[in-house]
Symmetry: C2
Subunit: 317 residues, 2 copies
């Protein structure tokens, strides 16, 4: 196992499988990855809303990568273990005209600065917000040729904005290209389901990730094995199916279907028993509803409900 360091710059702001890798690693390796905030370090502490309106939006999400994982091929699964996260004590949230879930009600631009300290922040008095830092964007290069802006997520991951992806959790992504070509960014010190105003607590967030490869294990989209017991006010450790789509109902239905497939495939439930188990014990959440035109739905089953299983037989490295 080798430990690598990858600085943020030069960042990139598109998914494009022709981008040259900035780092090559072997499965099992760990990488300390520096991630600037989603604005690409254009937003700074003390910035005014008028200054904020002038930033170059084409640089969002300012991702770090791509990372080439040796031996990764289409049809494999890339496992990303989030080992640790480090914010820098400051973050921001904004309201931007034309964006956000309530864009018709909130039209005036606004910029809020957060002081981050310890396990929660009280800078939005009288609220005390628990911090659960995670990367809004972790993904592999898309299957298609071309250059795609990063706002919509997809089966490749990307701008999932799923709040479970904190330190301790593990993300499984399908691989679509040789080397997988992993990139990440969009640090959030905290984020609600929905991310309704368009932002979490946006912040620079350095992370340490460990990568594993599972050969020839096709999956239809992202799966998370969450482990947040250390974080305050946390949901239980869970298996989480992540589904993306433009229609909320269809995405929720697809997530439920994939959870049934997982329960039947890995735990041996009959399909109808898996369906009933989902009906009495699954959580179903709108993880983000603002990355137009694509929403993220999460379907989760608490791990304590099921016998321990490794999702894939063993790390192949």
């Amino acid at each position: 196992m080798t430990e690598h360091i990858l600085a943020a710059n030069p960042t990139h702001s598109v998914w494009d499988r022709s981008l040259a890798p900035r780092l090559r690693i072997a499965p099992g390796d760990e990488v300390q990855i520096e991630c600037v905030d989603a604005s690409g370090a254009q937003v700074r502490p003390g910035m005014t809303v008028n200054e904020f309106l002038t930033i170059d939006r084409t640089r969002v999400h300012a991702l770090t990568g791509p990372i080439w994982i040796e031996g990764a091929e289409p049809g494999d699964v890339l496992e990303i273990d989030v080992l640790s996260t480090r914010h820098s004590g400051w973050g921001w949230s904004s309201v931007i005209e034309g964006l956000g879930f309530l864009k018709d009600r909130f039209r005036d631009p606004y910029l809020f600065h957060w002081n981050l300290d310890g396990e929660s922040t009280s800078s939005l008095a009288p609220a005390v917000v628990p911090l659960r830092p995670f990367l809004g964007v972790m993904g592999v290069a898309r299957a298609e040729d071309g250059s795609f802006r990063t706002r919509p997520p997809g089966p490749f991951g990307g701008n999932l904005d799923v709040r479970e992806l904190c330190a301790g959790s593990c993300l499984y992504l399908p691989v679509y290209n040789p080397g997988a070509l992993f990139s990440c960014g969009d640090g959030h010190a905290a984020q609600g389901d929905g991310e309704v105003c368009i932002n979490g607590i946006e912040c620079p967030l350095d992370v340490t990730l460990r990568f594993h490869l599972h050969k020839r294990q096709p999956i239809a989209g992202p799966i998370i094995e969450s482990s947040l017991s250390a974080a305050p006010d946390s949901p239980p450790d869970s298996w989480v199916i992540v589904e993306t789509g433009s229609d909320l109902t269809a995405a929720a239905r697809a997530a439920t279907g994939r959870m049934i497939d997982l329960l039947a495939g890995r735990w041996g439930f009959s399909e109808v028993h898996a369906y009933i188990l989902c009906s009495v014990a699954m959580r179903l959440r709108l993880s983000q509803v603002v990355n137009e035109p694509i929403h993220t739905i999460s379907a989760a089953i608490a791990k304590q409900i099921l016998p321990d299983r490794q999702l894939f037989p063993a790390h192949a490295h």
Copy 2:
């Protein structure tokens, strides 16, 4: 304060403000309410799926009530404190052709019997499902004249199927008619978000409820003050806005808007700060997606994030 007992029968299976009250109580009173299961005691332990297919579906949800609360008038809020719940050790879940979130995938009828014992059930091996008994249906008579079947919920409550409504929690409902005319039923020993197969763990569930009245406090729809710390695998105690509608996105947007109004109105946040707080800390869930044509969305903020507040100044009784 008086303690009352209300037996289940005769049950009713419509919302109709012309139904005669079966009990009259004063605000502050407690009522032990017997609720048969949603089938109206037609489903029995050991019943086969073929027998299940012959039950009279017009009797679902077999509600207990109505209860007349003295002094309740349109524009008031009825507070329902769930003091305790008692299941009888048995429950059922079914698959019914033409119903359920995955009705195209699951067409064959199925009936599953649950053995309920202690705080969890292992009767769906190898799963161990935590029990969190609650009533799927609690509501007041609708504002309109007429007789309405009970499947779709609404601002009056009804078939909300929100899993937070366990013992310890409190439901606030708008009052539309003199006396409020409260009814309840549809016991669930456990239910996931979505209730995707059409059932939770359906069961007879006797409950003790306490009723309070808040005069001239109009609210747009149900609000829950949840307190589940005693239950296993629980979400944090929360303020929960419950919204119903046929379009998931519109209902989620309305729930978010009502949460912002609550935060601004009761905690003094500016509207934009309330919007940002929702964006970084709110949970947004699909509580049920099967009570066609109306879905239930829940938007929740953990109580620990906010200073203590009484939602309404004081109990007026």
